[in-house]
């Protein structure tokens, strides 16, 4: 329930707001900071209070196990990885000045940025970097980032300003793994009681499930940044409370405006929407090793049933892009094939598979905004093709219980990734989250070759071949890439659209300023 404290919302203002939304999106499309005009030029000082979705009492300051949105926002404020994904989803140096492969890509060297210091003033040393990766891959307590470092044999000090990553197999894309936000560099003597990193903000206070506060890291390496003196992150588990806090001026910015409410929120004069195209995706997962999904015709029939345009309209209120069962839309090699809803062909395929009156149970859970809604819309569409889909709604912890990765027909959520890192996460036999139990020999050999192929042109061909295989017989039904819509007060500047799928300019609050 949104209870405005400003002027009441009239139909006219709502329409005006809608026009304003279009304008903001257009501006954002140009890549400039959409809010800069209202907020004025960058200004040092002030406090930025941000309402962040989700979180709970299990909130953590652990740099290597962030789970919820507030966790990620804190991680990105306190710590930095060697590399980082910028707003356009390209790799940029961060703690490392450079990360380069040796010939053959079986080893990579990271050169630490000259003069970079932790919050306590100590310089970052190669020992710290080595200790960081030991901590992530600690066999007794592997952190959430550990799974992607299966090929990492060893990290060693190479010189007084560089470390060397020794791999068990060639990997020309290893630098992408180093840019994950769960790989922040911390000192060798790191402890959670004294959460020190190289991020733009220093730790001030933290109450799990409620709020955390940070102060400016004066020794930060990016010139001028951060702009604000103090950053406060406030958890909001409920959409209405978060929106109310923004509209009543209790916070300066919020992440994740529900897509069905963007026009309402945007119609307030004092508020700016920040709309970002993302590569995040909310797939349906079909387990390819159990009936009826072990029959590729059933999988393809379900994919033909999905009305992707309607899903984007109803679930995302039209704010997003349709997808055709492939992920990694920002990968330079992203295939963009066509697949239209075709109920007749779907029925034919099912008839040929001997399953004319298919009846399925779809496990759904509010694991991300839009999942339960997507399940409902898809079930409605399937009924038109004679497929009865019963929804079984479970709570999030049940969804991620021991049955997670065992559900036969369920849903999932992933943020922006390029093709090969994503495939390593979810489509290979050794993937930590192979939700569809996808186990295709041809596919695996293509991906394996691509992962260690050094020639970019050949690698590109292999990545495209892998996508074609998934398009023809994979277990994911991917219907769309939702936009991310955040909102902030007009006086907040510097926040720009960001493709990572993380909210509010990738939770990089060093970029934001507040006008006086």
């Amino acid at each position: 329930m949104i209870s405005p404290t400003g002027a009441p919302l009239s139909r006219r203002r709502l329409l005006g707001g809608a026009a304003g939304l279009a304008a903001a999106t257009a501006l954002a499309g140009c890549g400039g900071p959409a809010a800069a005009r209202e907020a004025g030029p960058p200004r040092r000082g002030g406090v930025l209070r941000v309402g962040v979705t989700g979180g709970g009492s299990s909130d953590t300051l652990d740099p290597h196990s962030p789970a919820t949105n507030p966790d990620i926002a804190r991680t990105l404020s306190l710590y930095e990885p060697l590399l980082h994904w910028d707003d356009a989803y390209t790799l940029q140096p961060a703690v490392a000045e450079s990360v380069t492969p040796e010939p053959g890509a079986r080893a990579w060297t990271a050169r630490i940025r000259a003069g970079i210091t932790f919050h306590d003033g100590r310089p970052v040393t190669p020992d710290d970097v080595v200790a960081t990766f030991r901590r992530i891959t600690d066999p007794d307590d592997p952190k959430s980032g550990a799974s992607q470092f299966g090929i990492l044999d060893d990290v060693v000090v190479a010189s007084d300003s560089s470390v060397r990553f020794v791999l068990s197999e060639p990997s020309p894309v290893f630098d992408q793994y180093l840019a994950e936000y769960s790989c922040g560099i911390v000192p060798a003597d790191f402890s959670l009681e004294d959460p020190v990193g190289t991020g733009a903000f220093r730790y001030a206070s933290f109450t799990p499930g409620q709020q955390s506060a940070f102060v400016r890291h004066d020794g930060y390496w990016r010139p001028g940044q951060p702009w604000v003196d103090r950053l406060e992150l406030i958890n909001f588990s409920e959409d209405d409370a978060r929106i109310n806090a923004l509209l009543s001026g209790q916070v300066d910015a919020i992440d994740q405006v529900p897509l069905s409410l963007t026009e309402v929120v945007g119609s307030y004069d004092s508020v700016r929407l920040l709309t970002s195209e993302t590569g995040s995706w909310l797939p349906f997962t079909l387990r390819v090793d159990v009936a009826p999904f072990d029959d590729v015709r059933v999988r393809q029939a379900l994919r033909l049933v999905a009305g992707r345009g309607e899903l984007v309209e109803q679930v995302l209120s039209g704010q997003g892009a349709g997808a055709v069962d492939l992920y990694a839309r920002f990968d330079p090699e992203y295939l963009d094939p066509a697949r239209e809803q075709d109920l007749q062909r779907a029925r034919d395929l099912l008839a040929r598979a001997g399953k004319p009156n298919l009846s399925l149970e779809l496990v759904t859970s509010p694991i991300q905004a839009g999942t339960v809604e997507a399940a409902q819309v898809f079930a409605t569409q399937a009924r038109a093709a004679g497929i009865e889909i019963g929804l079984r709604r479970v709570d999030t912890s049940t969804f991620f219980s021991d049955q997670y990765l065992q559900w036969e027909f369920a849903q999932s959520f992933w943020n922006t990734r390029n093709y090969l890192p994503q495939a390593s996460q979810s489509s290979m036999p050794d993937s930590p989250f192979n939700e569809t139990h996808w186990d295709d020999a041809q596919y695996q050999s293509v991906v394996r070759r691509a992962r260690s192929e050094l020639d970019p042109r050949v690698r590109a061909q292999l990545v495209r071949a892998a996508q074609r295989i998934e398009f023809e017989r994979g277990g994911y039904l991917i219907w769309g890439f939702p936009d991310r819509v955040d909102a902030h007060q007009a006086y907040v500047g510097g926040l720009v659209p960001n493709r990572t799928g993380l909210s509010l300019s990738g939770y990089e609050f060093r970029k934001a300023w507040v006008s006086a």
């Binding site: 949104i2 409410l261 109803q314």
Partner: protein, 288 residues
């Protein structure tokens, strides 16, 4: 005996001589009619099916706008009364039947000095030490949310409350000559309870029936409102309120229609119950 069997009919006739009861019945019937006819009338009236998409979410399209998925609010409202009514009636039935049986057993055996009475009543005390909603939440936490579970929990938690009333009424009847006579003739307990006791405690039981029905509607709707009752994509009043309340400012009908329907329904049943209680108290001279 003839007097006993005609008692409920007579009580009802006298009750509906009161204007309050007639107004209550009219309100109740209005909502019941909406719930029963709505699923058929809805699509005819609005042109949309329950699952049809009428536009983007939370728009003003149609008579009452669209809901969180862009479906027609009015159609879904008209289709959404069935689950509330069915669950509430089922829970009430469990509570009344279970409570009447246990209460009569307890009351009757209380007069014979059996240990059954304290056993039943102390067992009830344990259930009575939870608010009904909290017990339902405990059940959901343990077993997951499902419609029948909630019906069962609400019904079971009605039982001790109904049993108290039934026991009290039985105690006042059990000492009557016709019961003592039946007992002397060696009539089995089951038959005494069914033919001598039950017909003479229908007044208080009918009041309980109305009361428990009113509460059941409230609990069923509350649990759906908390997201723990009927699950999507079903059309259900409680769930509809839950799904649409975030947009109360822009699309109020998705919340207001079901809220008003539940309000009218519970006010209606309560007015009838209240009239029934007054009439029953006047008849028996007891305290309702």
């Amino acid at each position: 005996m003839t007097a006993a069997t005609s008692a409920p009919a007579g009580l009802l006739r006298r009750t509906f001589r009161r204007r309050q009861a007639r107004v209550g019945a009219a309100l109740t019937l209005l909502v019941v009619a909406v719930a029963l006819l709505g699923p058929v009338l809805g699509p005819l009236l609005t042109g949309y099916g329950v699952d049809d998409f009428a536009g983007r979410p939370f728009r003003a399209e149609g008579l009452a706008g669209t809901d969180d998925l862009g479906r027609d609010v009015l159609t879904r409202f008209l289709a959404g009364g069935g689950p509330v009514l069915a669950s509430a009636v089922a829970a009430t039935a469990i509570g009344i039947v279970g409570g009447a049986v246990l209460g009569m057993l307890a009351g009757y055996s209380g007069t014979t000095g059996s240990r059954l009475d304290p056993l039943i009543m102390r067992g009830g005390d344990v259930l009575l030490s939870f608010p009904q909603l909290v017990l339902a939440l405990l059940a959901v936490a343990v077993l997951g949310s499902s419609g029948w579970l909630l019906v069962l929990v609400i019904g079971i938690t009605h039982i001790p409350r109904v049993a108290r009333v039934a026991r009290q009424a039985t105690l006042s009847v059990a000492g009557q000559d016709y019961v003592l006579a039946a007992r002397m003739y060696g009539m089995p307990r089951r038959r005494i309870l069914a033919t001598e006791v039950l017909p003479n405690i229908t007044g208080p039981l009918m009041v309980e029936l109305g009361l428990r029905l009113t509460y059941s509607i409230g609990y069923v709707a509350s649990l759906s409102f908390l997201g723990l009752g009927v699950q999507p994509p079903a059309a259900d009043w409680g769930l509809q309120i839950n799904e649409n309340r975030i947009a109360l400012t822009v699309a109020p009908w998705g919340v207001l229609l079901p809220v008003l329907a539940i309000a009218v329904l519970t006010v209606g049943t309560n007015m009838v119950t209240d009239a029934l209680a007054k009439e029953s108290a006047d008849t028996t001279g007891g305290v309702a």
